[in-house]
């Protein structure tokens, strides 16, 4: 199983600068755990203390926001593209 995961700029420090990484999982929860194994610290950035997705960061499987699918139980299959997208603020300064 190989799933492409798009890592946003603010989290690329944890993936050693990689914009795209591979993960093996059958659902979103498994994907986050797999990412954490390879890139320690990333789970804490994506999830809160209860393991729920933070409210200023979203996970999309292909183009769909998992909050409107089955949340962290949303299934992922080989070839899917997962994007982690945080709120960003830059503009004027």
């Amino acid at each position: 199983m190989s799933i492409k995961v798009r890592i946003p700029q603010p989290l690329q420090k944890l993936t050693r600068g990689q914009e795209e990484v591979e993960a093996a999982a059958s659902d979103v929860k498994g994907l986050i755990d797999d990412l954490e194994k390879n890139f320690p610290g990333i789970k804490d950035r994506i999830c809160d203390g209860q393991g729920k997705l933070r409210r200023f960061i979203n996970i999309y499987v292909n183009e769909e926001d998992v909050r409107f699918q089955q949340g962290d139980a949303t299934t992922i299959k080989d070839g899917d593209e997962v994007s982690i997208v945080p709120a960003i603020a830059g503009g004027a300064q």
């Binding site: 946003p8 200023f56 926001d65 909050r67 409107f68 830059g90 300064q93």
Partner: protein, 271 residues
């Protein structure tokens, strides 16, 4: 409004477009757009809306032109250093196109003043650089039912979306709450590629023109993500969230919030 000969000539290259024509140009000249934050995003937005002949352009910014702004805030010159951004921008824009009336709002938007400021405009463009302002503008536009054109960037990546209250999702449908202070570095700390700000700003300018002209498909319910390093765009779907705290079925936010108060972000002294 009837176009004069000079206007017909000035705007001829866009009047020629079948979806625009003289009627579209008249619509542009009658439009009132508010650009909040005249920086990396607001500069290209304001410049292109001015060029296109958007008749009334409101500019909101409380800052002055700093030398570190000039690599991306392309409407300012070295001569403008130290001047109020809105004043320097007004001079430059009105010189570019005397058809455009530039109204300056040299202030920082707060829950107390935002409704009065946005009230006079048809469309709001968010070119701010911080979460308290972004959430305040989103909430105010939802409550006032004003279309809002969102854009943001970080280092080499940017995002844009159009919010049409009542017709599609708002910013809180996507990210219901701002991150706690310090969780996300600002541009000041993180840096930004100047031309990236231009790309995102021009997506905002294009969407604004489409909204005024009522052509094409607005970027509603979709977030566009641009990566300048791989030179690619992606779109993700943004559904309207029935549990959204401001535009959902049972909104919990019914009045505006000044996040600065509890985000602890220091207010600028320069006002």
């Amino acid at each position: 409004m009837i176009l004069n000969d000079e206007q017909i000539e000035r705007y001829s290259r866009q009047i020629l477009l079948p979806k625009i024509g003289g009627g579209g140009q008249e619509r542009l000249l009658a439009a009132k757009v508010l650009v909040v934050g005249v920086g990396g995003l607001g500069s290209p937005v304001a410049a292109y809306l001015t060029g296109a002949g958007v008749g009334t352009l409101g500019l909101v910014d409380s800052d002055s032109v700093d030398i570190t702004n000039l690599h991306r805030q392309i409407i300012y010159s070295t001569d403008d250093l130290g001047k109020a951004k809105v004043e320097a921008a007004k001079v430059r824009l009105e010189r570019m196109n005397p058809d455009v009336k530039v109204i300056v709002h040299k202030l920082r938007l707060t829950s107390a003043n935002i409704m009065a400021v946005i009230n006079d405009y048809d469309i709001v463009v968010d070119g701010t650089d911080n979460f308290p302002a972004r959430y305040l503008i989103n909430d105010a536009c939802v409550l006032a039912k004003k279309p809002l054109v969102h854009g943001a960037f970080f280092r080499f990546e940017g995002q844009a979306m159009v919010i049409k209250p009542g017709e599609g999702p708002c910013y809180r449908c996507m990210f219901s709450e701002p991150p706690p202070p310090g969780a996300v570095p600002s541009c000041q700390e993180a840096g930004v590629l100047g031309a990236l700000a231009g790309v995102i700003g021009l997506i905002q300018a294009t969407e604004t023109l489409k909204l005024i002209l009522r052509i094409g498909e607005p970027l509603v319910g979709k977030l566009i993500i641009f990566n300048s390093l791989e030179m690619g765009f992606r779109k993700v779907k943004v559904p309207q969230d029935k549990n959204c705290p401001v535009c959902g079925e049972n909104p919990t936010i019914t009045e505006l919030i000044d996040y600065e108060i509890f985000c602890g972000i220091k207010k600028k002294e320069s006002e």
